[in-house]
Symmetry: C2
């Protein structure tokens, strides 16, 4: 039989084994060696594959997984039952597991896509001695080895215990009796950013991840959580200034990709600025009459843009760190109205003085510019409060309401306010 | 003697004890009880204080420190020798220790200011059994308990070992023989952000902190490192849009403080925008002749500002995450020149088409605007590359070269380019 199997092409061998009764399939599969075993495995039907993986020893499993191509492993793992997934991942070397995880069908950006299985799983009915032995024999070379997750007969996560507690317990005490409740956990489908934030909030070094049935399938460890926090922050920062995120570091990204990441926003914003242009066109008569009015446009636009950027930055960041929630909307808005009124007033006074020094005869223009400036800052703060909040309400990342986008909107407001006030106060316009 | 001491005011008692020979001072100090002991302690001279703290039992030490006011504790700790600092901090409850650390004279933002002493310290000549016993008896309720730092007779940090290694070693093996070299460590005076980044880079859960002589005084644990990363990032993000950092969360900060945090930059930027105003004034003749030119100013300024923000954001963030170093300056600049040329060209073409659609007869104006736009984007990218790099060169946080600041500079360039090109190409200007 061994000769027969070894002579077959792996596809044929897989088909042959898949058709055998399960006990015979196991015997047949065990006849295969090294590379061939994994090649054949890749073609087995899912049921037979799961059964075999579940039945072989850890050594054999390691061999098979080591030889398996990543995509085959991913394919298999994504359909295997939770207990098998954990076992397969636990014999995979870290680098490969990382790749496997990233390719697994867990939604991109989910907890499942960043979890690993470098964890100690204990049964509730283990004695402390058995548990300690398991830790001692574990091949895990990481601090997560000291946090032991406890599951019941159905692999449902029921508790957690720490090596320190095991060390000070009686050798024959049951793990089920000394374990603590798990209060911080995640589902494979949870957002990876939300999971990463658990680490910041609760000062833990690992968070267990369960599937939809509550079965333990892996953990997210603190180092991966930090990676996520840093990456998500970079994405936020980039989004806030209108840059699409690139996965590779700056120096390894080509000029073409880097340009592409920026040009979409630049184009969109440039075209939106047409609105400001159109508004200005409609006031041509005004600045033809008093050309001095034009010279304050940059200052007005920049200040409105700056005030808006400041507000949106503070709000977006506060939402990211959890200091502000959507329900705080009214409170935040009132606060920003206050800040806009106060800061706008100071700016308006400073600006009026500046104009009086540079153009002593232009009292009225100074008044128009300063009043408009004040109104612009108040409106900028409101716009910059509304947009990120609306984005959040629509389940979007508030950071997409980038400062450049807000600036463009504020510009339009600023120009209308400026020239309307000018029309009212200046008789020559 | 007890009666005498108890009858004395604590200042007098302290003076009395300080003058006794050390052995007698210890006897006298032990006669004091609870609150009085710590009150007296606060007034002892440093030498006597250190000697007494070093001589009393852990219980007594705990009592004294518990009763001591934070500032007194800080005062004492900041001048005590390293071994005593560690001992005092180890008997202090976590919350108080946090406060003590924050008040210690370690420079603000240093590793010393964020370290704790929830660590297991082993002597090189401990046996594994003794080491395990120390871990077992430790009151530390944190994962850092599993990482044991080893010091020599002079408290110099010499190695590290992990509970897992202890568990699989012979009971009578010496810690000095099974320990590993410490490759990742920090000094109390190191920048806390640099230390926090070690956690991201090396996936560790604690970093030992030594004083200038290499003596172990504490550890930074991963949860504090995450706090630092989040805080420093918030500061960076805020700096990038010209907001001064406030320690308290948004909703707990008053309108006045929030306004103050923003108004300085707004004022500075507003006043800098005077330059743009002055530039515009000098071209009054040009836009009096062709008012249409004015309508493109917002678009030109916004696009330049946006391109600059994008560049500075990417560069500042890449420097923060370590993807770009100062030595990459030339490489980065060439890349940004490429991006500016490419993105600017696309924008210029799009803009020319837009103008041709809206103003079919204004071919020359379209050409002027598009050429200026192109040049503006290239210059914006250069300015936004130079400034953060220069800030870094001057040992400043590159984030201080905020997008608003860059925008203000780019605006001035944009206006000059625009009107100079207009003067050359448009015969009526």
């Amino acid at each position: 039989m061994k000769e027969h199997l070894c002579g077959l092409n792996e596809v044929d061998a897989a088909e042959y084994i898949s058709k055998l009764p399960k006990a015979d399939a196991l015997k047949a599969f065990r006849l295969l060696e090294g590379e061939q075993a994994s090649d054949v495995f890749a073609y087995l039907d899912k049921d037979t594959g799961s059964y075999l993986m579940d039945s072989v020893t850890d050594e054999q499993l390691t061999q098979i997984v080591d030889e398996l191509f990543v995509d085959d492993a991913v394919d298999f793992i994504s359909e295997a039952p939770a207990n098998l997934v954990e076992r397969v991942l636990s014999v995979t070397d870290p680098q490969k597991r990382k790749i496997i995880n990233s390719y697994l069908q867990y939604p991109e950006g989910s907890a499942g896509s960043i979890m690993t299985s470098e964890l100690i799983r204990l049964n509730e009915d283990y004695t402390v001695l058995e548990a300690l032995d398991k830790v001692r024999k574990s091949r895990i070379d990481k601090e997560t080895v000291y946090t032991c997750y406890v599951t019941d007969a159905k692999r449902i996560l029921t508790g957690v215990t720490y090596l320190k507690d095991l060390l000070v317990s009686d050798d024959d005490a049951l793990v089920g009796n000394i374990m603590e409740k798990v209060s911080i956990k995640a589902k494979t489908t949870d957002d990876r950013e939300a999971v990463a934030k658990l680490f910041d909030r609760y000062s833990v070094i690992s968070v267990p991840v369960t599937d939809s049935e509550g079965k333990l399938v892996g953990i997210v460890s603190v180092d991966d959580a930090i990676d996520v926090l840093v990456k998500e922050t970079t994405e936020d920062i980039e989004a806030m200034s209108g840059v699409s995120h690139s996965e590779k570091p700056y120096l390894k990204t080509g000029i073409f990709t880097l340009s592409k990441n920026r040009i979409v926003w630049l184009l969109m914003l440039m075209i939106s600025a047409t609105i400001s242009g159109k508004i200005l066109e409609s006031y041509e008569a005004a600045f033809a009459a008093i050309p001095l009015l034009v010279t304050f446009i940059p200052m007005m636009m920049d200040t409105g843009g700056n005030a808006g950027s400041q507000t949106s930055t503070v709000i977006i960041r506060s939402m990211a760190t959890g200091d502000i929630r959507l329900t705080d909307f009214v409170k935040v808005w009132f606060k920003e109205l206050g800040i806009g009124t106060l800061a706008g007033f100071v700016l308006a006074v400073a600006n009026y003085l500046r104009i009086m020094i540079l153009h002593p005869s232009e009292n009225e223009v100074g008044l128009v510019v300063s009043l408009s400036l004040w109104a612009t800052v108040v409106i900028a703060n409101s716009v910059a409060t509304f947009l990120p909040m609306i984005a959040t309400k629509l389940k979007q990342d508030p950071a997409v309401m980038s400062a450049p986008f807000i600036t463009t909107i504020v510009d339009a407001f600023a120009l209308v306010i400026y020239f309307e006030i000018a029309k009212i106060l200046l008789t020559t316009v």
